[in-house]
C-alpha cells in the first residue's frame, strides 16, 4: 500500500471529516470491524502500538471522550499520558504553543486535542511532528464522533438486513434520510456528522429553531432545513438528537428550555410519528426530558449505548491508521525486501 492508498490520504492528522472523504470514512469503518472483533476477545487488547505514546490534551473537560480515547490507546498497548489544561490558567500564562511543545518534548507519537476554540487542533498540528487527532474543537468539528455515528448506523442497518458489513460497504447510506435536530449553531457534532453522512450519500435534514441555526448555511451539504420536527419525522430513517448545551449558553438563544422541549424534544408521541424502522441517536450526555424523553431513550430503536461502545473501536481504528499505517519511507525501504513474506 502506498501513501496514496492510505485511508487518510496525505493527511498525517485527523482534524476534520473533510480530511477523509467517503473512501477514508469507509476504510475507517472497515478497520473498525477488526477492532470490534478484538473487543469481543477474552483479552481485548493487541500489541499493535507497543512503545508508542499517546497524549490526551484537553483544554475543555470531557470525561467521556477522554476515557474513550484513553481506553482505545491502552487497548492498542500504547502508553497514555493525560494532560489537562485549565483553559483559564493557560490564558493567564503559558501559551498553547508552549504547552504543546513542552508535552511533545517528552516524546509523543499522537496528540488527542480537545479545545473550546475552533481550529485549535489545526494550529497544534502546525507546531508538532506527532499525529494530531481532533477530539472536538469549539463549534467546529468532532470527527471521531461522526465516524462512530456512521459506524453505528452501518452496524444497525447491516444487522437488520443480515448482510456482512464489509459486503455492504457504504451503500447502506445511499439515500438514507437523517434528521439532525437541535442546537446546530453551536454543535461540532452536527458539523462533522453533516459532512460525514452527506459524503457517504445520505440526505441530511437539519431541524432547529431559527435562533439555533447558523446565520448562513451556504456550502453545507444538506437536502433540507426545517423548523418543524413533527413535519419531518414521518419520512426519516434516522433521527439524530443533539445535546442542548445549556452550560455553554444555548439558553440565551431560546425563550425557555420548556418551550424548546415542547417543540423539538423527541417525546413518545413524536417517536410514534417516525417509521417503524427509524433509528434514534444522541451523542450524549443526554438531557432527559429536554431533547429526548426518558422512555424514548430506552426504546430498542435507540442506539445511544451502542454509540458509546463503538466509540472505543472507532478511536482504536483512527489511532492505528494514523500511527500504524504511517511509515518513514527511507527507514522502510531498507527493511522491505528482507522482511517481506
Amino acid at each position: 500500500m502506498t501513501s496514496g492508498d492510505a485511508p487518510f490520504g496525505a493527511h498525517r492528522h485527523l482534524l476534520s471529516i473533510t480530511d477523509l472523504g467517503a473512501v477514508g470514512i469507509a476504510e475507517v469503518m472497515r478497520v473498525t470491524d477488526a477492532f470490534v472483533e478484538v473487543a469481543r476477545r477474552p483479552i481485548p487488547k493487541v500489541p499493535a502500538l507497543r512503545g508508542r505514546t499517546v497524549v490526551t490534551l484537553f483544554a475543555e473537560e470531557s470525561t467521556r471522550t477522554r476515557l474513550s480515547f484513553e481506553a482505545a490507546a491502552r487497548r492498542l498497548s500504547a502508553d497514555v499520558l493525560s494532560f489537562s489544561m485549565d483553559h483559564s490558567s493557560v490564558k493567564k500564562g503559558e501559551s498553547l504553543r508552549d504547552t504543546v511543545e513542552t508535552v511533545t518534548a517528552m516524546g509523543v507519537d499522537a496528540l488527542v486535542v480537545r479545545h473550546p476554540e475552533a481550529g485549535a487542533p489545526h494550529q497544534v498540528a502546525r507546531w508538532v511532528d506527532a499525529a494530531v487527532v481532533n477530539a472536538g474543537d469549539g463549534w467546529h468539528e468532532h470527527p471521531t464522533q461522526a465516524l462512530l455515528d456512521c459506524y453505528t448506523i452501518r452496524q444497525a442497518l447491516t444487522e437488520r438486513s443480515g448482510i456482512e458489513p464489509d459486503a455492504v460497504g457504504i451503500a447502506a447510506f445511499d439515500g438514507l434520510r437523517v434528521a439532525v435536530v437541535g442546537d446546530i449553531r453551536h454543535s461540532r457534532v452536527a458539523r462533522s456528522d453533516v459532512l460525514a453522512l452527506s459524503a457517504l450519500g445520505a440526505e441530511v435534514i437539519l431541524v432547529a429553531p431559527g435562533s439555533l441555526l447558523p446565520t448562513s448555511l451556504q456550502g453545507w451539504p444538506l437536502s433540507a432545513v426545517s423548523n418543524d420536527l413533527d413535519a419531518v419525522l414521518g419520512t426519516v430513517d434516522v433521527c439524530y438528537l443533539l445535546r442542548l448545551q445549556l452550560e455553554r449558553g444555548a439558553g440565551k438563544f431560546l425563550p425557555s428550555v420548556r418551550e424548546y422541549a415542547s417543540s423539538y424534544g423527541l417525546t413518545a408521541r413524536r417517536a410514534a410519528l417516525m417509521p417503524e424502522h427509524a433509528l434514534i441517536m444522541h451523542p450524549g450526555p443526554m438531557n432527559r426530558g429536554v431533547e429526548i424523553a426518558d422512555e424514548v431513550a430506552h426504546l430498542p430503536r435507540s442506539l445511544v449505548l451502542r454509540q458509546v461502545s463503538n466509540g472505543v473501536a472507532v478511536r482504536m481504528a483512527v489511532l492505528f491508521i494514523l500511527l500504524g499505517s504511517a511509515t518513514a519511507p527511507s527507514e522502510a525501504e531498507a527493511l522491505l525486501d528482507m522482511t517481506a513474506e
Binding site: D5, A34, E37, A48, G324, E341
Partner: protein, 170 residues
C-alpha cells in the same frame, strides 16, 4: 513459472490432512486456523478433506495478524479482514495454515495472536510452500512442498497452483 499445478496443490492438501490425522491420532479438539489472506482457502480445503475422512465437520477459522506484526510503523500495516475464531481455543489443538513459510515473522505474530484467544493444548503449523530464508526459530509440522528460492523471488500460492516469479520491481 508454474511449479505446482492445481492438481499438485490438491494432492498436497489431501496428504497434509492425512498427516494431521495420523500425527494427532484423530481429530479430537482440532481447530484449523487459516492465516489471512493466503492461508484461509487452504485451511477450508483441508477442513473439507478432514470432514470427509472423519465424517464430522472440523471447525475452521481465520486469523488476521496485522495488530501483532513487528513492522508496524516501519511500513503501512492494515488488517485485511476480520478475524473469525470458532469458539474458545482453551484446550484446543490448533493447526495454523498458511500459504508460504518465509521469514517466520507472520507465524510469530500469529502465535501471539492465538494466545489472546485462550491457551491451546498445542499449536501446529501447516504450509503449502516452505521457501527457506527463516529469520526466526520456526519450523513447519506439515509441508506441501519444500522449495529453495532466491530471496528476491516471489512465490504465489492459490488453489490453482503455485507460481514462482521474479519480484516485481518497486
Amino acid at each position: 513459472m508454474q511449479v505446482l499445478s492445481a492438481e499438485d496443490v490438491g494432492r498436497a492438501l489431501v496428504r497434509i490432512a492425512h498427516e494431521i490425522v495420523e500425527r494427532n491420532h484423530g481429530l479430537e479438539d482440532l481447530v484449523l486456523i487459516g492465516l489471512q489472506t493466503g492461508g484461509v482457502p487452504l485451511a477450508r480445503r483441508i477442513g473439507n478433506v478432514l470432514g470427509e475422512i472423519d465424517g464430522t465437520p472440523v471447525p475452521v477459522g481465520s486469523l488476521d495478524v496485522a495488530f501483532y506484526r513487528d513492522d508496524i510503523g516501519i511500513r503501512p500495516v492494515l488488517p485485511e479482514a476480520v478475524t473469525d475464531i470458532p469458539g474458545d481455543l482453551a484446550g484446543a489443538l490448533v493447526v495454523m495454515v498458511d500459504d508460504v513459510l518465509f521469514t517466520g515473522r507472520t507465524v510469530r505474530a500469529a502465535l501471539n495472536a492465538l494466545a489472546d484467544y485462550g491457551r491451546a493444548r498445542a499449536v501446529q503449523l501447516a504450509v503449502m510452500v516452505d521457501r527457506g530464508h527463516r529469520q526466526l526459530p520456526i519450523r513447519p509440522d506439515y509441508v506441501g512442498k519444500n522449495m529453495p528460492t532466491r530471496i528476491d523471488e516471489q512465490v504465489d500460492v492459490s488453489l490453482d497452483g503455485v507460481v514462482l516469479g521474479d519480484v516485481v520491481p518497486r
